[in-house]
């Protein structure tokens, strides 16, 4: 399985802070996003924005990053700390 986390407005719009998904062959971060978008309106609203960032195992990563079993993937908006 792959652990998927959501933060800030993405978490609020979807209504959950994490889900688990099956790790399939050659699955990329973008494929995972497409799978999640297909779950319905609120998922599209939260994840369709082109500014959404993805971190794989707590490192900011590209959408073509391949995922494997046990990975932690996080989707979040641009950061606004400080």
């Amino acid at each position: 399985m792959i652990k998927v986390l959501f933060f800030a407005q993405i978490r609020e719009v979807i209504g959950v802070d994490k889900v688990e998904v099956e790790a399939t062959e050659n699955l990329t971060a973008d494929d995972l996003r497409q799978q999640l978008l297909a779950r319905g309106d609120k998922w599209r609203l939260a994840l369709e924005d082109r500014n959404v960032l993805v971190a794989v195992n707590q490192t900011l990563s590209g959408w073509d990053t391949e995922l494997s079993v046990g990975d932690e993937v996080a989707f979040f908006p641009p950061v606004t700390g400080g």
Partner: protein, 148 residues
């Protein structure tokens, strides 16, 4: 020292820790606070969320980058999360060095990169309700200046 915490911090205590090295000739500190305007007017409170684990590792990385650029003694980064009120302290950056230029530059570098790379998110509360703060182009440009 890197800390992500809900509790407040004392600038005097943090200064004392940064300043204790006998070789230290300069200490520069920065404090970021909750102000009454942001993306909304009349901001009265703020909620700060972060990504535990990734936040600390990004801050460690930024500190290592600053240490590679300037000769620094001590570095302190404290960022608060949770519910904050108007005028509350949000973030502390403190740097000690033998020389002032290194301390000034490193302090600015650390806050610039914290703002654009560390996974923190702010939500403002005002008369108009609550809104998530938008990332600013000016912050991105401040970071890019260091890469020239």
């Amino acid at each position: 020292m890197i800390s992500v915490q809900t509790q407040d911090f004392s600038v005097a205590d943090e200064y004392a820790k940064l300043a204790q090295d006998p070789g230290c000739g300069a200490v520069v500190t920065f404090v970021g606070k909750v102000r009454d305007f942001g993306d909304s007017k009349n901001v009265s409170a703020m909620t700060l969320e972060h990504y535990p684990g990734m936040t600390e590792s990004v801050l460690e990385q930024i500190e290592a980058e600053a240490r590679a650029r300037w000769p620094l003694d001590q570095v302190t980064i404290i960022h608060r999360v949770g519910e904050l009120g108007l005028c509350d302290q949000i973030v502390f950056i403190g740097v000690s060095s033998a020389h002032r230029k290194a301390a000034f530059s490193a302090c600015e570098y650390l806050i610039d990169f914290l703002k654009t790379r560390a996974p923190f998110w702010k939500k403002e509360t005002s008369d108009e309700g609550t809104v998530w703060v938008d990332a600013k182009d000016a912050d991105q440009q401040a970071t890019e200046q260091w890469q020239r």
